[in-house]
Subunit: 342 residues, 2 copies
């Protein structure tokens, strides 16, 4: 950080701080001659305005925070790219925070977002987030100014907050219907945290589709997975020693596809002949998997872009986020060999 500030410049020039400040901003109030003197000395003394000093004066940090559970995941990295692109075009800086699916980390991070560090927050909650007090507190700092917030992808139910989500229920229903139409009648849904709204909606879409077609729906149709790859592999193995192994699998999130494929490869269970597989995924490599994977693909990049656009609108209008929009961008079903008649 440069040691030369406006005060030092003013002193050296025998001018007031306000005059120097106005001269540097090329104000019409200052004579051309004075401006030239100020600019010349500023250059000579290597004066560089500190961005945080200017942010304090303007009460604006020109910075947003992106708070997400993980980044090494094709949905979140693509959404982050969409956010960064919009922020860069707007001249905003992006602070990245990872919660690692931990509620306590999310709480601590939002605490850091108060008091002017950022002008707004883009949040995708953790799978542990049930209590949302830390979120409402951020948006309503009494005595201060609320920090605008927009959810993307993972938004908790019951909060009147702007959000960009996708049609989780419908797209899961559609994926399940596709499996049914391909001949599956004993399907399982691989679930991550039930506390997560997106997972719950996908599960409901799966369940309602089964019911619609008169198929039984019991606890056997849902498998609760975790973030642990080895444990998930074990759960998938157990599926295939059932008396009636599944003939169709809907993987609720991308990371559940590796255990399914790995176990099927190891146990020589043919996809799609013995079991058909569809997964929620943004993986650019879905088409070259063995076999090519049918996916429900979220518009990740667009969701990031739209979330950032909504947030900047709120920041610029100083609009109450509660009155803002909830935009649902549809996902797409890409049918590939993993659900073929095989």
């Amino acid at each position: 950080m440069s040691d030369v500030n406006i005060r030092a410049l003013a002193k050296a020039l025998n001018l007031s701080i306000s005059t120097v400040s106005k001269a540097l901003k090329d104000s019409y109030e200052i004579s051309t001659e004075t401006k030239q003197r100020v600019v010349a000395l500023a250059k000579e003394m290597h004066y560089n305005p500190n961005p945080y000093a200017s942010s304090l004066r303007r009460k604006k940090s020109n910075t947003i925070a992106v708070v997400i559970p993980e980044v090494a995941d094709s949905f979140f990295s693509l959404a982050l790219k969409g956010i960064e692109e919009v922020a860069q075009a707007k001249g905003y800086h992006v602070l990245l925070y990872l919660t690692y699916e931990q509620y306590e980390k999310e709480k601590k991070i939002l605490e850091e977002c108060k008091n002017g560090r950022v002008d707004g927050v883009l949040l995708s909650v953790t799978s542990e987030t049930v209590n949302t007090l830390h979120i409402t507190e951020l948006m309503d700092v009494s005595g201060g100014h609320p920090v605008p917030l927009v959810f993307f992808d993972r938004a908790p139910d019951g909060l009147q907050v702007a959000s960009i989500t996708t049609n989780d229920y419908e797209s899961s229903y559609q994926a399940t219907q596709h499996l049914y139409q391909q001949g599956c009648c004993n399907m399982v849904y691989l679930s991550v945290s039930k506390q997560l709204t997106i997972n719950y909606r996908r599960m409901e879409g799966f369940r309602d589709c089964l019911r619609h077609y008169g198929l039984p729906f019991t606890t056997h149709n849902i498998v609760d997975c975790s973030n642990d790859l080895a444990k998930n592999e074990l759960l998938v193995r157990k599926l295939f020693i059932r008396k009636h192994p599944p003939d169709g699998i809907v993987a609720g999130v991308e990371k559940l596809i590796a255990p399914v494929y790995t176990v099927c490869h190891a146990k020589a269970i043919a996809i799609p002949a013995a079991v058909k597989v569809v997964s929620f995924s943004n993986l650019p490599y879905a088409a070259i998997l063995n076999p090519a994977l049918t996916t429900v693909t979220q518009p990740a990049f667009e969701m990031g872009q739209q979330a950032a656009i909504l947030l900047f609108k709120a920041i610029e209008k100083k609009q109450s986020p509660g009155k803002m929009e909830n935009i649902v961008l549809p996902s797409s079903l890409y049918i590939r060999n993993s659900t073929g008649k095989g």
Copy 2:
């Protein structure tokens, strides 16, 4: 941002600003009674210290910048995770900037990193970066303070700057040797930008291995690809209408693997029977591709961690980055079916 600052608190309490500041920091110089009065009013008036005011006083932003070409890529997203983990543990904030492989963007971003916005920079240069003046300028802001910088993965040649890289030459040589040992004698290397040191080293490793085994090395052995998926597919198609199509392919970066697999699938060119394929890649799905892909896998997460650790060491010691370490973390060759005897 709260409107209540230390000045307002001091005025309301009829105390000096310095006394209030010390009281809030629980200084021994201030009486317990005064401290209690200050803390009580601060609470009542919803006083929250602004992080940038404190950063100005301390001349420390507690923020680092990560400047990378892209984030929707398994190497960079994993490295970013490693960086974020170390930064979070240190209580630092991470500003993320994407250059989209554009030199002009990189230059503009580093300009923004001056003047105290960040305490340090982690940089992986663009494929266009030849001139490095913007980098040396950042590290040597005359009249101000230099900003410590550490390169990771992509470091330009000839700069005396700390870096975390991997053994690109050796791992490429090893991958090529593996293809030779599997019976390939007409191999091509799929190259990205030749200006990029990592790509150049990988190309050299490939070339030297061919020479070592007495195989011809001509311009036919190198294919210059780009960031355009469709164009890359066309280039791969052209390979297989050559009089002597290649029997081995080394893909210099992960994104070149999709065009290779797509073309081979479309043209029914059997991997590994007709052509064996190895790629530099951090893809967690390499093992479930069709066929499972042999990879040179970089220690992406560890590279991110180590780069962050080096940077914080430089920030804390106010050490000249020029005198710092250059750490090379080895990549690993994972042999899978795509290079099998098939």
